[in-house]
Assembly symmetry: C2
Homo-oligomer: 283 residues x 2
């Protein structure tokens, strides 16, 4: 049982990790990508105090080296669900499970808009996790929105289970081999159904489908933690970075604008301190 | 008329200044001390992301150089009052006055407790500003709490005005020459009076006094801005760093714990963005 689990490897996660380490806490740090990959795409940064005029990759390496110098390691794993039991949290990451007393969410933001109907049918046909929900679709028809080549192994896994899979790759150079896959080179527009998902509508057509897997890097916060209060796509936090779920804190872009490195490290720091305070009160 | 006035030269002020510069705003930055003096006293810092294991003075110089590299200059002046007129702000600093559309308070925290009665008699005998209020005490009896040698010129100024001055120096090696000054080497404990201040009580005695000047580096936020909402000694801010006074924002230690550099730069960033948004809405 960890004291704290940090989910997310951007600057907010780095800042939380540095503080938890300094405060002597037993924590795990999980992220779909390494620190340097998370910030590598950033333009030139001039307003991060103390590092004048750095590129995204320079900042990434600097943060990465800072963590290494303190013996902190990030585990590259995708967390697909956080579940509360008796005030403790279970984190699912592929076929692994981790237990922690508190969680700090540093999820970043999805830059793409959710599909029309995505949130409505979440848990009623829509899933963000092949490993978690794939088995529910044995012998059924599914659709898969694949946003990045790195998710193709999940597409193959789902094709192995389903009877048929309509695959929407959102990038160039896809390599999906399964014979059950039917590639559709259009953007899905809308999900429809009644109690459960029934159809995926795309530009110029539609397919009947029992399920829709949306495979993307950043997971929608409300999909990750059931009952988490989200407003306009951002996790609602108080000044101490606490969320509406006791023991869960959030920091960085996922809590709202401005999307800035300085803000992210500030909130990572605050969230770590708040988590430690929460642990002290809930021994 | 400046778009923004930043008060305070610590890391929150630095972060606000970097962002206002990057956003092309016309701002003034006032502080009682330079950036490097503000953080020079800090212990070794290991949790400021991107600068592993720096001393306070190293961080101070790094922040200072960052500002210089962007052509940002701090003016070493003590702001003693912020007054609102028609939605604009006047800042008094000694005998100078500056006008700004918005203000970002990065005041740090007072580590010493206020005297008993200090806030009660503020504006009714208690003043934090010799230049502002000294003239009110012509030919009267005053007390002066002087917390640092650097304020001795204000003590001399007040002695020149008053009939008599009871001076409480809170440091060694004082050099106060005025014949009107009576030095009391005790700590003031309590201020008393009715509608106005009448007495200053110290350990082992008391003096009758029409006014009490408290000369210290960081000014109490509520003394600086009339009507500013302060809770437990901290300026109450929302998530966007706005205060209860429209157009006034606050960042860093003055908004509350944790007292951390990362939090301060995060809030300085947020406050700058919020001020810019406010300016856009209130053209």
């Amino acid at each position: 049982m960890f004291d704290v689990a940090i989910i997310g490897g951007g600057p907010a996660g780095v800042s939380a990790a540095l503080n938890l380490k300094a405060l002597g806490k037993n924590f795990i740090w999980l992220s779909s990508r390494t620190v340097s990959k998370k910030v590598a795409l950033a333009e030139r940064i001039k307003n991060y105090p103390g590092l004048p005029d750095v590129t995204g990759s320079e900042l990434g390496w600097t943060l990465n080296n800072h963590c290494e110098s303190m013996g902190i390691k990030l585990q590259e794993e995708v967390v697909t669900g956080v579940y509360e039991t008796d005030g403790k949290f279970s984190l699912l990451a592929g076929d692994k499970q981790y237990e922690a007393k508190t969680v700090i969410l540093c999820l970043g933001v999805e830059t793409s808009k959710p599909l029309e109907g995505e949130e409505e049918f979440l848990g009623r046909g829509v899933s963000c996790c092949a490993t978690c929900d794939g088995f529910l679709y044995k012998g059924k028809k599914i659709a898969i929105l694949c946003t990045d080549k790195s998710f193709e192994h999940e597409v193959e896994y789902l094709c192995g289970i389903a009877e048929k899979a309509y695959v929407f790759p959102m990038y160039r150079g896809y390599e999906i081999k399964s014979e059950k896959a039917e590639i559709i080179l259009k953007r899905p527009l809308k999900l429809s159904g009644d109690m459960r998902l029934k159809k995926v509508i795309y530009k110029g057509g539609e397919v009947e489908s029992d399920g829709m897997f949306i495979l993307k890097g950043a997971i929608t916060p409300s999909a990750l933690v059931h009952g988490l209060r989200v407003e306009n796509g951002h996790i609602r936090v108080e000044r101490d970075c606490s969320t509406n779920v006791a023991g869960i804190f959030a920091a960085g872009d996922c809590t709202g604008r401005p999307y800035q490195y300085a803000k992210a490290v500030g909130e990572g720091n605050v969230a770590a301190h708040s988590a430690v305070e929460y642990l002290a009160k809930n021994k």
